[in-house]
Amino acid sequence: MTAPSSEPSAPPSSGPSAEPLLAVRGLVKEFPIRAGLFRRTVGAVQAVSGVSFDLHRGETLGLVGESGCGKSTTGRAVMRLIPATAGSVVFDGVDVQRAGSSALRALRRRMQIVFQDPYASLNPRMTVQAIVSEPLRIHGGWSDGGAERVRDLLDLVGLRPEHANRFPHEFSGGQRQRIGIARALALDPDLLVLDEPVSALDVSIQAGVVNLLEDIQDELGLAYLFIAHDLSVVRHISDRVGVMYLGKIVELGTADELYDQPAHPYTQALLSAVPLPDPRKQRERQRIVLEGDPPNPAHPPSGCRFRTRCWRKLELEADGVDTSACSEIDPLLSADEVGHEVACHFPKVRVMV
């Protein structure tokens, strides 16, 4: 069970039929709300409420959504950096939530995370050499050609060997993110959770890191869980994409299905709101402007969580359609209506871009 992958570049195997590398089922994460002098728990916020998805070897699944939708919490709960409240996460046949400490350690070598802020996630007192080699030292790969491994990793992410002796402050944001990626790759993982890896970078630098991530995936056959709010970057890098709203996945499909034939009214509003860098197209487009802000996750709406801001519900009601299901029944993800999974009582494909 714990045998770490030995060969450095396992070819990206598998079609969708093969056993998924990562299977997440009904993942729930609640954070307590504390109040009063003794900080008693008076309630709970469900940051993630019942998220399920599969991720195959060599595949990239994008998770998009706005702040507070639970996408980062999902990434962290998948790695058990925070304990999940309910649900299961199975990584290559091993239940991550129930793994004992030694099994968890073995799992952690195979799943690594890259964080958003390259200024905060690297220890300023450690050299690049020390940062990248730390995972090797912890997991006992240092004595066996560790120094050489660090050199290879720096080369892989486009840094020179002499950079190894420098400190993080000597590097720009894009280069720091490359150091973070090198560290995450040190133990030759099967899965990288990328939590907004390019959001803090300038446009011209962002493209280099995105290209690097794609090259590394081609070379090493890694699976990526790519968490971001930038829908354009997600489309570019992802094979499949899940859209989250208030702790739930509302639509899940291949990147082309989701961007070319979105069926959930939230996905449609989200896509229409992204400004296109194309003046003629942008000025001709119809923008669906959602009213108000997302509701408080401590008190989510009954039934469909999007119904309080849903423009299609209003359209349907204007046509005299009975939309009581929206406020009574929580819609489940289903691929029956439009060919990819969508959680809506009245899904309808509408081309947005």
Partner: protein, 366 residues
């Protein structure tokens, strides 16, 4: 103070035909220097542009390109360590060198600003309504009491805040991010300014909230007929709202053109690189992004010649690109560019990176 500026004999700095109404704002050869421990840093170096009545000018650039420093210089908000030279004229009146006392009647009245971080820009211990009221009464002592309150509620209503009368009595922390940004806009337009400077007004916001705020800004521009300077790194935002675009790099202008020319016929290799490096929402592209190699230069050690030449795929090195600094010059159609080789460069949209795998191309450390 508001002597109308008229100079019909001159051709426009930005290559546009001079229209009957003179420019609202004219920046000429603006330089901003900061003294640092490592020596003087020139954040803005010889910048010139004009803002015409009822026009939206988009200023685009990456971190450190000098776009925010420019807006702070216009408002006289730079710290005292900054050395500002050149000329900034508002309707003919010189702003550079004015004393704080002389600037105050203009600032927030004729020239107003919307900042990026609304949470940091609003005072947390005062009600939102009171803060907007203050912004009005500083310039208009005649408006008081119920009239002032009514004006505040009207402004909040204009920017689309629901239940404005009740919201005016709330504190900033009770507002969501999008509402705070709208309250900031309400404050900025309180005195119906001539010039509205918006510095990354939607950067901190989620995309659906950004759409709301952009819609409010468009509505307000149509209503007040202000001239707007929108400073952003988001090319999509600029494509949607700007009439003209100025692209900045390392404290200088690379390119100025109307919005369509900027996006469809970019003449400067940096603009071309920025457009090529954007992943597209509207097309399936399995291709690699055409990234710009290297990093923006340190302002402490700018490359000689064209500041962009070390990253430029078309640079003549050694040659004029590394020796001679290109000045902004005219191309046909009101397009202006600071590049020696614009005419020789052919731009293909979505140009893929020519060299092989970027994995092995090495990053330079400054």
């Amino acid at each position: 103070m508001t002597s109308p500026y008229a100079d019909p004999a001159e051709t426009d700095d930005l290559g546009l035909a001079v229209d009957p109404d003179a420019p609202v704002l004219e920046v000429e050869d603006l330089r901003v220097e900061f003294a640092t421990d490592d020596g003087p840093v020139t954040a803005v170096d010889g910048l010139s542009f004009r803002l015409h009545p009822n026009e939206t000018l988009g200023i685009v650039g990456e971190s450190g390109s000098g776009k925010s420093v420019t807006s702070m210089a216009i408002l006289g908000l730079l710290p005292s360590t900054a050395r500002v030279s050149g000329s900034i004229r508002y309707r003919g009146q010189e702003l550079v060198g004015l004393k704080e006392r002389q600037l105050r009647p203009l600032r927030g009245n004729k020239i107003a600003m919307v900042f990026q971080d609304a949470l940091a820009s609003l005072n947390p211990v005062h009600r939102v309504g009171a803060q907007i009221a203050e912004a009005i009464s500083v310039h208009r002592s005649d408006l008081t009491g119920a009239d002032l309150d009514a004006r505040v509620v009207e402004l909040l209503d204009v920017v689309g805040i629901p239940d404005p009368a009740a919201r005016a009595r709330q504190y900033p922390h009770e507002y969501s991010g999008g509402m705070r940004q709208r309250a900031m806009i309400a404050m900025a337009i309180a005195n119906e300014p001539d010039v509205l400077i918006a510095d990354e007004p939607t950067t901190a916001l989620d995309v659906t909230i950004q759409a709301q705020v952009l819609e409010v800004m468009e509505r307000i521009r149509d209503r007040t007929e202000s001239s707007v300077m929108i400073i952003t790194h988001d090319l999509g935002v600029v494509a949607g709202v700007a009439d003209r675009v100025m692209v900045m790099y390392a404290g200088r202008t690379c390119e100025v053109a109307d919005v369509e020319s900027t996006f469809y016929e970019p003449a400067h290799p940096y603009t071309q690189g920025l457009l090529g490096s954007l992943p597209r929402l509207d097309s399936r592209s399995s291709d690699r992004l055409a990234r710009i190699v290297g990093n923006p230069p340190s302002l402490l050690a700018l490359p000689p010649g064209c500041a962009f030449h070390p990253r430029c795929p078309h640079a003549e090195v050694p040659g004029r690109c590394s020796d001679e600094r290109p000045e902004l010059r005219d191309l046909p159609g009101g397009h202006r560019v600071a590049c020696h080789r614009s005419e020789e460069i052919e731009w293909r949209p979505q140009e893929a990176e020519a060299e092989g795998a970027a994995v092995h191309d090495v990053e330079e450390v400054e």
